[in-house]
């Protein structure tokens, strides 16, 4: 997993190793969204270095960034962000199609199976519950075997029981060596990860291991 050094905003400097499960916490305006966009290769730092699996992200052009997002990053959003008119399977398949990866149907079905939704493959998002939608989003994030999965408030739109299920799924994936970075402002959610990075005013104010995990 990548070496990570980002002096951004006010010297944000950290590295995340392969297989880690990290929560980034902080109040709104603390810069965690900006950090998230940078980590997700949706935005480039004006100065500083972001290295993902040894790749200098800030040196890439728009097309190369799209490729990195496609192959190395999986996104999970608070509001799921599924295509409303596509089925669960088609939503999951989308990154494979953009990556021109063959056998996309079977691979997506396996990803759906992994999040426990193979039986809902032909359903559209509107026919799924919130928890199921988020599982589809996770399957979509997983399907390309990315280096990291970035989850932005993944439980924010879910009730606590469903949120717990999603966190269980994340923990399970992490045990299978998937690297996860999660942005949240809920302490109890963060406690379920293995490392918490606290941010405030564009600075890291704390970076500690979670002992219970």
């Amino acid at each position: 997993m990548g070496v990570q050094q980002v002096p951004a905003l006010a010297g944000v400097d950290f590295r995340i190793e392969e297989g880690e499960f990290v929560a980034i916490m902080g109040p709104s305006g603390s810069g965690k969204s900006t950090l998230m966009n940078l980590l997700g290769c949706l935005d480039l730092p004006t100065s500083g270095i972001y290295r993902l699996e040894g790749l200098n992200i800030q040196e890439l052009n728009a097309n190369q960034l799209a490729e990195v997002r496609n192959r190395r990053i999986g996104f999970v959003f608070q509001s799921f962000n599924l295509l409303p008119r596509a089925t669960a399977l088609e939503n999951t398949e989308l990154p494979l199609l953009y990556g021109r990866i063959p056998n996309s149907r079977e691979i997506s079905l396996r990803a759906l199976d992994r999040v426990g939704l193979a039986h809902r493959a032909k359903h559209k998002p509107t026919e799924l519950s919130g928890g199921e939608r988020q599982r589809v989003a996770i399957a979509r994030a997983l399907v390309n075997r990315p280096a990291i999965i970035l989850a932005d408030e993944p439980t924010g739109n879910l009730d606590s029981a469903t949120g717990k299920e999603i966190m269980d799924l994340f923990q399970e994936l992490n045990r299978e060596a998937v690297t996860l970075i999660l942005v949240t402002h809920e302490q109890e959610v963060a406690e379920l990860t293995r490392r918490i990075i606290q941010m405030k005013d564009g600075k890291i104010i704390a970076d500690k291991r979670v002992e219970t995990c």
């Binding site: 728009a62 799209a66 496609n70």
Partner: protein, 402 residues
Amino acid sequence: MLIWDLFKMALRSLVTHKLRSFLTALGIIIGVASVISMISIGEGARRQTLNTISKFGTNIITIKPGQKKSRHVTTGKVNTLTLEDAEFIEEHIPLITGVAAQVYRSAQLKFENKNTNSTVRGTGASYSRLANFEMDRGRYFNKGEIRSAKRICVLGSTVLKNLFEGRNPLGKTIKVDGKNFLVIGTMISKGALSWFDPDDQIFIPVTTAQKRVFGMNHVQSIDVQAGQIDDLETIKEEVSQILRQKHNIADGKEDDFYVQNSSQWLNSWGDAAKTFTYLLGGIAAISLMVGGIGIMNIMLVSVTERTREIGIRKAIGAKKKEILEQFLIESVLISFLGGGIGILLGIGISRVVSGMGDWETVVSTQSILLAFGFSVAIGIFFGFYPANKAANLNPIDALRYE
């Protein structure tokens, strides 16, 4: 992303908004349908006219009295041509295969209690051959009958119908302006032009017409038939030379007749009809443009509506080019389908038009390809701006868009 997947996505988006897609395509449908039907009507009119005109023979030179001023306007004396001129030409130009002097005027025809007003054409013996008339019953008059100015006539099919109503006219006598004429033959119908029905006339010896009916010494036109179409120009020049000589026209003075080539007439008619076709097609093309603007309008709305979708796609790795293609395929698909339906509709309209009367329509492959290519080009042209707008969206902003 493969083109096929983009195509499926575009198709799904169109199917989801059926009514909207249909209304958007309607502009193109109407545009293409009107281009095709208008061109088919124009082209049909052109072919019909040319066909009918060429029935009168394309290897004919017509000599008319008067001074040639411009293409269709003549002034000066109108009685400068005589039968002798016709005979003189026939004797002195070896390249020609027939000469027919003519006089014509409309006259009252009567048989028993039936009346009709038709053209009476006094001609030479070779006229029926020159003008591509074929005999139905009986025969045409011969040179001897012309010399003796016999009162005999041959009926066109319209006259035959009006006066005899299917009975055999041969051997019957009709009255032409009160004078008796013996019917010796009838013609097979040639079909009417919009302004002139060649079947609504009777043919009598030119001499008879001059002396006994019209009371004139000159002729109104002389038709000269060329053996070879390639000889038309040469014959034209020779005719001019001979007539100038015979009419004693000094060098530098203008001709007192003019010579017209029927293929020239044919060409100028063809050109006029072509212009008419282009005009119709051009007007129809404007509606195609309007349809294109409709596509652009809807695609802009669609891009705004789907900002979030575009954000999602970009976040999971869609390149700028792939977003551009997706929306472009959508607009091209609309215009493509619209074009297809428009072609069918256009063909339908021209069928209906030709079915309604004797108006011929010709749907040419060319006009179909033109309209179809044009509509797809419009899909690309008017789809590009919205698609480009979509492709250039910033993924972060697009994801946040509510």
